[in-house]
Amino acid sequence: MSLDISFIGVLIGSIMASSVPLILAASGELITERSGVLNLGVEGMMIIGAISGFALMVITDNLFIAIIGSMLSGVIISLIFGFLTQSLLTNHVATGLALTIFGIGLSAMLGKNFVGIPGKDFPILFSSLRESIPFFGPILFGHSIVLYFAFALPFLTNYFLKKTKLGLVVRAVGDSPVSASNQGINVILVRYCCILYGGGMCGLAGAYLSLIYTPQWIENMTAGRGWIALALVVFATWSPIKVLIGAIIFGGISILQLHMQAIGFRIPVQFLIALPYLMTIIVLVVISRDSRKIKLNTPTSLGRIFYKEK
């Protein structure tokens, strides 16, 4: 491995790029779960975002519309989940699983005519700075706007949950919907909003894959990233900053193991492939050992159905 400093910069840049969909989807799901709703439909919402974004890009030739549209499509499909679980009081787990299956099927159907069309170059920011500054250039510059947004998102989420009144409301609804309701909070409305927000972020995560990361549409292109995002939220014990750390570790080791293979390390490949999963779990478990903090962050009513007696 050429270990010169500029190469490491390039490597860190590509690690950041690969963790973006995980950060976006997991941050969205985190808000949903903090409000007490367990939505297992992340994969389905991501894939719908991926096809909607790509289809809109092809039809309108406008990347801005494509990005916004992918988020809206995530919102719309999560609205189905919201209606079923919040208004019809269906089981969260079953409905979420159904949403994933539905999303994968629907996206395949919608995408039939978009297979085999090459994507467009997504504009990257500060590309000249990327080349001119060694090491920091490829890390800080030359990325799409979505990447910068993704890396700011966990901090914004953290601020929102800890420092704002609305964040307190979300947490209250997630911890004790009955007391929140008695305080005059419209629990169902808050949960609806959190579900729709989660859907929008998952849609954006999908569009990142189909418009920026591997610009094309192919069926099932999310390839399980939604499930990894879901697991990240749990292992990060519902802390936005730990979600960010987990996503970077997962993305980082996924890419490093490929490099190790290319260099020719004599380590069994199967072990290398399992490494990202193993390391992410180990690191997150180690940094989240404070049980008092876990209790503080865990939404107590997660996955439980709430209804207000009238």
Partner: protein
């Protein structure tokens, strides 16, 4: 009374016509490992299915079927629901296909890229993709400046290892300093991971990328990096117009039509088919002029010679990584050896995952 009679009559007519048509309808089922929209392996099989449909034979397909219990369930379901001929189009369906074939002796089975024919109603078929890899190796050996070829591999099965070896041997012939770097992604189909693997190989000095996985992500990554690449399974030129030198194309259509008609007309019999450039089951997409007119000519000549049998991809002397002789000088590898290939030839870096 009269009304009831009419009702019975109508339902009787319905039943009779339905059962007759159900008997008369010859149906062919297809089981795919990926989605038909992968623009690679499964896409090409589905083109073959469409050709069967165009020949006037009814077909159905099930896509994205996982190996193992899922595969057996799907194949069994197809056999039970009146399909007369079933194509299972991935290596990993081998055991499931044979298992179901045992229970349905009247249904014909065709398994792609496998070698087990445990019952008389199971045929196997495959394409000599390695002939295409030989052409890729020749081109890559001539064009590389870093002497490093990046190879994205899926699973360590003989078909994939054969491709790696065929490519490396051909590249060595024109450039003895060639190194083949391999990254295993343990998936046939994961665009994100394939793109990352391509990037890792590029970062490690590869200036030509080829793949034995099914998505178009690696060629796009190569295009972005401004280096050469080769397409897999179908013509991927549209995705990387500057970068793609040529694609190995699988053309299953003639074989599928022939076998479906044979099964319908009762002339189907067990068979092991391994067709290549000669029969057209393997084809090359137009060569990129960017490689230079001379090299295009060489590639076309090599393609002709491989098709006519004048040149064999595995001509001795061939050594394994430790230097033991695999094929003696002047000999060519027989099909048995090719089908069971599980060692790298000299010049490939790393170990085969066990």
């Amino acid at each position: 009374m009269y009304k009831n009679f009419l009702r019975y009559l109508i339902s009787a007519i319905f039943l009779i016509t339905f059962s007759i048509s159900a008997k008369a309808d010859f149906k062919v089922g297809f089981v795919y490992i990926g989605p038909t929209g992968d623009h690679g392996w499964t896409y090409q099989h589905d083109e073959g299915r469409k050709a069967v449909e165009a020949a006037g034979i009814k077909t159905t397909y099930v896509e994205s079927v996982k190996y193992g219990a899922d595969a057996e369930r799907v194949i069994r379901q197809l056999a039970q629901s009146g399909h007369d001929l079933i194509f299972t189009t991935s290596f990993g369906y081998m055991d499931a296909t044979n298992k179901v074939a045992k229970d349905f002796p009247n249904v014909k089975f065709e398994h792609a890229t496998g070698y087990k024919r445990e019952h008389s109603n199971v045929s196997t078929y495959s394409a000599r993709f390695y002939q295409g890899r030989t052409i890729l190796g020749h081109i890559a050996g001539k064009l590389t400046k870093t002497n490093t070829i990046g190879y994205i591999a899926s699973f360590p099965i003989p078909e994939v290892i054969r491709g790696i070896n065929a490519m490396t041997l051909a590249a060595q012939k024109v450039n003895p300093n060639i190194k083949t770097k391999i990254v295993w992604v343990f998936s046939w189909y994961d665009p994100g991971k394939e793109a990352e693997a391509a990037q890792a190989l590029i970062d490690q000095g590869a200036d030509i990328i080829m793949q034995h996985t099914d998505s178009t992500a690696p060629v796009q990554t190569a295009e972005k990096a401004g280096i050469w690449s080769f397409g897999q399974a179908s013509d991927m030129q549209r995705f990387a117009p500057k970068s793609i030198l040529t694609s190995i194309i699988d053309d299953w259509a003639p074989y599928y039509v022939e076998r479906a008609i044979a099964a319908r007309d009762g002339t189907w019999s067990q068979q092991d088919t391994w067709h290549g450039l000669k029969e057209g089951m393997v084809a090359m997409s137009p060569y990129n002029k960017g490689m230079g007119a001379d090299l295009v000519k060489e590639a076309e000549q090599l393609q002709k010679d491989l098709a006519s049998g004048k040149i064999h991809s595995f001509t001795g002397p061939i050594y394994d990584q430790k230097g033991n002789i695999l094929v003696a000088e002047g000999k060519v590898a027989d099909d048995g050896m090719l089908l069971g290939m599980n060692v790298y030839v000299k010049g490939v870096e790393g170990d085969i995952p066990k």
